[in-house]
Symmetry: C2
Subunit: 185 residues, 2 copies
C-alpha cells in the first residue's frame, strides 16, 4: 500500500498511538489502514471410501490436485464459503459437517479451514472453469506427490489417520515455513 | 475504498472477468482490490469453576464485560493471536486448548474464534490499557446483561451447557442479524 484508499494521499508507515505494530497511516485524512489474515474455506468431500479432489485449472499450482477451497467472501458464513467453493470447483452441492482443520500459514497470512462433508452420490462435475478434472480417489490411491498445497496434504493425512483410529478430530496448527512451496504466481 | 492504494488513481466497482462479485478495480494500473472477512481470536480462560472476563476500556461497548479477544494479525498463528490478545487485555499468559467456537458475523464480515484455556492460578492483571477491570466470575454469577458482544455471550452459554453435559464441543455457527447490537463507534 502506497496511497490512502480514502483520499489518495501517500501513506506513511508508523506505529499508531496505543498500538504496537506498524500500519499504513494517511497523514492527510488520518485513516489507519489495517491488513489482516484472510480465510481460505474448503471441504473434504467423501463418498464410500473415496475422497473428491480437483485438478487446478489456474495458478498457483495449476495441474496439481487439491481439495475444493477458496477465499471466504464478505457477507457469507464460514461454512457457506466452503460450500460455495465446493460448488464452484467441484460442481457438487454439499453441507459442511465437522471442522477438520484450521491451519495458519503465517508467511502468507492465511488461515485454511476445512470441513468434512459426505457426498450423497458419486455424481460431480467432470470439470469446471476452476478445475481441469474432478475425481473420486480411493483413500489408498491419493496422488500424494501431486497435491497442490501442504495444508491440503496435511488435512488429508490427519483425516485418514483419524478415520483409522476411529476418532475424527478438529485439529488446529500452523504450517512450518519449511513446508512453503515455490509459487509461480 | 475510493482510490487505488498502489497508484492513487480512482477505483471503479465492477465484476472482474472470471469473477462473480463486484470488486474495486483500478482502471489505471489494473489492480483488483479484494476485501475479505477478518478474524477475531480470543480465549475463554477458566480457573476452578470461574471464568475470566474483562471490562472494556474502549469503544465499542466500553464498560461492558467480554472475553479477551481481538483482531488476528498478519504473520501470527490463530492460537498465538488469541494468546496475545489475552495477555494484552487480561494480563495473563495462557496456552490455547480446544477450539470452542467459530462464529461468523456476516453483517460486519468477521469470524470470531474462541479457545478454551485453563489458568494455572487466579493471578491476573487488575486492569490493562484495554480493560478497566479484569475479574474471575463464578459460573453462576456471570453478568449476562452486561456482556459486550453476542458472540461472547453465546460462546459462554454453549460452554456452560457443554460442561454440564460433560461434553465440550467445537461449535460453528453464524450470528443471526437480530442479535446485532447498536454500536456507538
Amino acid at each position: 500500500m502506497k496511497f490512502c484508499s480514502e483520499c489518495a494521499h501517500p501513506v506513511e508507515y508508523a506505529i499508531p498511538k496505543g498500538d504496537n505494530r506498524e500500519r499504513a497511516i494517511c497523514t492527510s485524512c488520518g485513516t489507519i489502514h489495517y491488513v489482516n489474515p484472510r480465510i481460505v474455506a474448503g471441504t473434504l468431500p467423501v463418498f464410500e471410501g473415496k475422497v473428491l479432489l480437483c485438478k487446478r485449472a489456474i495458478e498457483p499450482r495449476k495441474g496439481y490436485w487439491t481439495l475444493p477451497a477458496g477465499f471466504m467472501e464478505n457477507g457469507e458464513g464460514l461454512q457457506q464459503g466452503a460450500e460455495r467453493e465446493t460448488l464452484e470447483e467441484a460442481g457438487v452441492n454439499v453441507t459442511c459437517g465437522q471442522m477438520l482443520s484450521a491451519i495458519t500459514v503465517p508467511f502468507i497470512s492465511q488461515v485454511h479451514i476445512f470441513f468434512l462433508t459426505e457426498l450423497t452420490s458419486n455424481e460431480h462435475a467432470p470439470s469446471t472453469t476452476e478445475s481441469l478434472d474432478v475425481k473420486l480417489f480411493e483413500f489408498d490411491n491419493i496422488p500424494w506427490d501431486e497435491i497442490a498445497f501442504p495444508t491440503v496434504k496435511q488435512t488429508l493425512r490427519h483425516y485418514l489417520d483419524d478415520l483409522k483410529a476411529g476418532n475424527i478430530q478438529t485439529r488446529i496448527w500452523n504450517i512450518d515455513p519449511k513446508d512453503r512451496i515455490e509459487r509461480k504466481s
